[in-house]
Every structure is written in C-alpha cells, then in structure tokens.
Symmetry: C2
Subunit: 169 residues, 2 copies
Amino acid sequence: MTTRWLDDTELATWVRLAAVLELLPGVLDSQLRRDSELTHFEYYVLAMLSEAPKHTLRMTSLAQQTNATLPRLSHVVRRLEDRGLVERFPCPEDARATNARLTAKGWEKVRETAPGHVATVRQHVIDALTPEQITQLSAIAESILSTLDPDGNLTALYHRYDTTPRPDR
Amino acid sequence: MTTRWLDDTELATWVRLAAVLELLPGVLDSQLRRDSELTHFEYYVLAMLSEAPKHTLRMTSLAQQTNATLPRLSHVVRRLEDRGLVERFPCPEDARATNARLTAKGWEKVRETAPGHVATVRQHVIDALTPEQITQLSAIAESILSTLDPDGNLTALYHRYDTTPRPDR
DNA sequence: TGGTGATGGTTGTAGCAACAACTATTCAAC
DNA sequence: GTTGAATAGTTGTTGCTACAACCATCACCA
C-alpha cells in the first residue's frame, strides 16, 4: 500500500485549512469568555436550547446536537444549572430520561450574548469573503461533512433555515 | 450599535463550517492516537521539527509555528523527551534559549506516522472535493487567515512549497 | 559595573474533557 | 411476572491545557 501524497495545491489548501482549524476556535472562545463568561461549548448548549420548542431538550439529543458525550454534557449542564442558566427535571414520558430547560435568566443570557458572537463570526469569516466565496464555502463544507456527519446531527438546527433542504432519506 | 444578523446563506455557511470545525479535529486526533499513540499537537510538533534544518528549532519559534504557549510546549516536549522522540539542549548562541531536536527514533516515528495521517486528510477533505473546490478553498482559507494569522506564523512551513508566493510586505 | 527592564524557559496549580464504572429504568422474551 | 439486555444519566479518575509565579540571561545605559 503506497501513499498518495498531497500535490502542491492540495498541500497548500490543507495547510491553510489546518491553520483555520487551529486558530478560529480559539478566537471564538476568547470572545465569549471575555464578554459573556461562557465557553464556546456552553454557549452552543444554551443556543441549542434557545432554538428548541419550549426551550427544552432531552440530554441525549442535546448531546447529539453538540457532538458531546453524555458524561461531558452532564458536567457542563450541572455547572450551567449552578449558575441559574438552565434547569433539569425528569422527563414525564420516560423516567430514565432527563430534560434540560433554559431558565428566564438563561434566555436573557443568550439574547445578550448573541450579538457579540455574531459580530466575531462576521469579522473573521463572513466579511472576509465575497458573496461568491460564501456560496462556495457552503458547498465545500457540506461535501466535507458528508463523511464527518452523514446524519447531519450538528446541522440539524440549521435545516429549518435551509431554503433548499436535502432530499429525505 | 445594532447587530447585523446573518442572512440565510451566510447562516447556512457558518453552521456548516462550525460543524467542520467541531468534527474534523477530533477525527484527525483519533486516527493519530489510535495508530501512532500521538495527539495531533504532538504530531505537529514532531512534523515541524522534521522540516527544520538539522531537525532542530528554538522552543520559542516552535511555539509560534504550532500556535502554542511556551508553558504548553514545554510540558509537551518534556513528555516527548521522556519517550525518546525529542531531545533538548541549551542553545550555544543564547544561554537563555533551549533548542529542541528530533532524535533518530523521533524521525523514524514521523516517517511511519505520516502516511496514515495523510490518508485521513485525503479521505475526509481532499478526496471529498473537486479540484476546483480545492482551489476555491485555498483562497477562502487564505482570506480568513488574513485576520487570524496576519504574519503567517502557522503557514510559514508551507511557504516553501508555495508555487505562487505572496508579494513581499 | 551594576541596575533595570525585557526575553526565554520551567515548574506548580486549577479547571475542563475523555474514559470507565456505576445506578436506575425500560423493553422484550419466555 | 421475572430475567436479561439495552437505554439514559451521573459520578469518580486520569491526563492535558491555561494561567501564574518563578529563575536565569541578555541588552541597554547611567
């Protein structure tokens, strides 16, 4: 089994993408920590809840949407609960399950945090690209995701906004 | 100061890119841990050394190229040293500085690790895209990096492979 | 020469994430 | 109904990263 190495163009692309992968999460995280005392993951958890019906989700589905293991989510939600941003209660339909719900304070937190986060995304991604490039990047990311996230767990939320939804499976 | 929210296309693009940001590092890390018992960061440190003259770099410049803080790099290099993959010695020109150098065993490790890593990159990124998309992504990533890494620290290595180098500044 | 600030690096401590072990509930089969 | 397997979640341990404190050396200059 001989290795197919990357040619010049492929290597250049990969090195640049790897650099984005390395730097962008840190920038997003810093802004949120600094301005809202939230990690990027915590913000994402709150954001998912804020988009859910009744601001409520089962722990399991929340874990799927955020690409977290259940143990990790459990710890994070407990900390958010300690801060009064989220509350947990047993699921009525399934006594094994636990629901997480955004509190009023948590909802408030999301609303005051979102503008700064969006501004950061704009500054470092959207506004750095031309409209054409944004369209191109959308297709590129979708292709990459076809192997990474074939069921679309992480983009489930977005599909409600999608004007050209995927065919049903 | 009113917020400029993302329109549908922008949001779709961002959600997908965010998903890639979330998933891809984990996939790369898993493959390296499983097949070579290295974290992605450790592999990157070894790779940078393997590309350097005499397989040697100052800790400070190694930290820059890998986007690490000096304390973090210090810990990681110590562990790599314990495993016999790297050795440290005082810099002759500056008694404050420390040089890190790849050992023969470390060089061997890089050579046997690279094929699997490249295969993973191919599988999840390069081979998922058309040649046109690869070119597009290269330009897109470069635009994004212009605000994230204006000095090109993380892509310094690559510039030697670049067939169309940037204009001097 | 001998202070002062800046640079280069290491070590100790605290917090977060991955993994494993455990409890409790549900579902299916007999 | 009772046993066994699968599901849902929590809690404890280990390892890595960020942050802070610290030491040594260099460069500058009075």
